[in-house]
Amino acid sequence: MSTATSPVTEGPTQLPTPEPRSLGSAVSDYLARVRGGDVGSLPAVLGLVVLFIVFSILRPNTFTNAFNIANLVNQSAAVIVIAMGLVFVLLLGEIDLAAGWTAGTAAAMMGVVLTREGWAWPLAVVVCLLTGAAVGTLIGLLVARLGIPSFVVTLAAFLALQGVLLKTIGEGGTIAIRDETLLALNNNTMPVWLGWALFAVVVGVYALLSLRRAATRRAGGLQSESTAVVLAKVAVLAVLLGIVVAYLSRERSRNPLISSIKGVPEVVLLLVLLFVGLNFVLARTSFGRHVYAVGGNAEAARRAGINVNTIKLLCFIIGSTLAAVGGILLASRDNSISPTTGGAQTLLYAVGAAVIGGTSLFGGKGKILDAVLGGLVIGVIINGMGLLNQPTSVVYMVTGLVLLVAASVDALSRRRAMATGRV
């Protein structure tokens, strides 16, 4: 829409340009938001810190070593990616119970064309993604066009895809992944210099975009963040990421002379690309804005001329396609695809990740960062409990408890937000 003029204002009203926001007021604004119930990523970050401290104290040698931290990242990657897709679905106030089996089924299709047909990996990846997109299209059409609750549609898909996967692979069968590139994706590390280059690019681009945004706003006569606030944020990001990269760049091979292992896991590059791309889509495009609008008030969105059905369909397609990407990671990590790939706790961990990160099950609230933080929280629990030699039963119970805490934080902050008028 290019012709937005306001007939009620005769010429542009001259308004005073507000002072740029200082560091102090930025901090106090944030604290006020948290007190008002808009806790954002705080619970997930605090949870992550607490879990890290607890496990570091209990298992100082095995938990907090570079080998395990790299392992943790690789372990969590698939759940994080599936959770990123679920954020789109959850933002609508819908659910996709089939995301785990979508991952498995799509990976199986990839495995079939790789091994039985001998296709090159890029083609096999395309087949995998198309499988995910097709599943998402089917679910999306049933939900958006026929108006069947997503809970029911995806429950049906949950069962059906499980069958498709079993049929494709065969009872007790597996499809081995032998392609070097695919195996490297969720197992290998990038060279140390590449890790630092990635670090520099991420921090540099973030700094540049933030400074440019502040400058644009200042030029437009709008409230902007002062350069000090921007630089403080950049510094915090640089320090946090820098510590992680430095840690992962240390030698972590038990026998460095035979084979050296150091550097950031390759999968981090994929996670960064997905994070930046999906974040852009949700926060900076009309489509993303419409996703929030549909999740917040579908009727209002419809009246505003937004095609609610199309938005829903696209979100389910995005969700299932990202689940397929998660399937690639699962296959890479396990070196194979079996009838249980994407099953067991995969879906529950992914939904849990999004919710623990701060995405609301009620729709309208959530972001891609939630999937990353929540996925790491779940990853740390599984990893740490494993190091404590806790049986699977205890891991399940603790994970369940953490999810319950996260859901309670969501519900409580919603109530607080209602009371203070921030939803």
């Binding site: 937005a4 306001s6 542009p12 308004l15 437009g220 609008a293 969105a301 009246r303 001329g305 939803v423």
Partner: protein, 296 residues
């Protein structure tokens, strides 16, 4: 609240209507909801549309806004006959509707809501700075000074402020006609006052405003014209200064008040017959226009 029409010459003498509906009809199956309805709206003036529940107000508005089309009748906008078959057609003419139940997204801020569905983009990226500046200008232009921050979520606004945002959204585009469906229904006294002032300001800025309201105090406070619908017919189109509160009440409840209103053969004794046979269309050749002549 002062009424500018009290001093000026009768506006309809020198101002041509922006929108004129002539003999529009709308049926749902056998139910004849609108029967030969006439409706005029003038630029720079507030036209109140009143009538009892089920009189057909919402149906009339939906027809104007294009979300439901009239079965037949003339739709004249700026002097030319037009066809409005979708909300997009109406928007293109400059017609905006502010619905009764607020069409705002609680989880989005004021700027996002103002531009919802029509976001400004630059190279495919949301142009937040321009949207925020336009939003600020528009609210300032409407003398809205009660919101703390334009970036606060709509959920944190009071009922009156939310209504203000909904109204501001309708004037953000090149709108000429703004239709408000019960904008003060859920508001307290102070907030009603605030919204009515805003309604008056829209008209004073040259927009044509249609106000649907059940509250005749509100109607007499801001409206220049009053159109009464009675059982799907135009009972009267009058200037508000020419009628009394009680006359309007009688028009709403009985379709007639003294010399005003529907002619005798359409009146109460026929109501039962009409209800039994809704297809009966008494020759309502224009009681509204006649009415206006009588009241001069």
């Amino acid at each position: 609240m002062t009424m500018p029409s009290t001093t000026a010459a009768p506006p309809e003498r020198d101002v041509a209507p922006l929108l004129s509906l002539r003999a529009v009809n709308k049926s749902f199956g056998a139910v004849h909801v609108l029967q030969d309805v006439d409706f005029d709206v003038y630029p720079g003036q507030v036209t109140a549309l009143v009538g009892d529940n089920g009189a057909g107000k919402s149906t009339l508005i939906k027809g104007i806004a294009g979300s439901q089309t009239f079965d037949n009748g003339d739709y004249v906008f700026e002097g030319a006959p037009v066809t409005v078959h979708s909300p997009k057609d109406a928007n293109a003419l400059g017609i905006e509707v502010v619905y009764q139940d607020l069409a705002l997204c609680d989880n989005l801020d004021i700027v996002h809501n103002l531009f919802l569905g029509r976001e400004l983009t630059k190279n495919g990226v949301l142009d937040e700075a321009t949207m925020e500046r336009r939003a600020t200008e528009t609210l300032a232009g409407l003398s809205v000074r009660t919101v703390r921050s334009i970036r606060q979520q709509v959920a944190s606004l009071s009922g009156g402020q939310r209504q203000t945002v909904a109204i501001a959204r309708s004037v953000l585009w090149n709108s000429k006609l703004v239709i408000l469906d019960e904008p003060t229904a859920a508001l307290g006294v102070a907030q009603t006052e605030q919204v009515l002032k805003l309604v008056r300001r829209l008209a004073d800025r040259g927009l044509a405003v249609v106000l649907i309201s059940h509250n005749l105090n509100d109607v007499f406070a801001v409206a220049d014209h009053i159109s009464v619908l009675y059982l799907g017919r135009t009972a009267a189109q009058v200037r508000s200064k020419d009628v009394t509160y009680n006359q309007v009440v009688e028009l709403i409840t009985g379709g007639r008040s003294g010399s005003l209103g529907l002619s005798a053969e359409q009146q109460p004794e026929d109501v039962a017959a009409e209800a039994a046979d809704p297809v009966v269309t008494a020759g309502a050749g224009g009681p509204a226009t006649e009415t206006r002549e009588e009241t001069r």
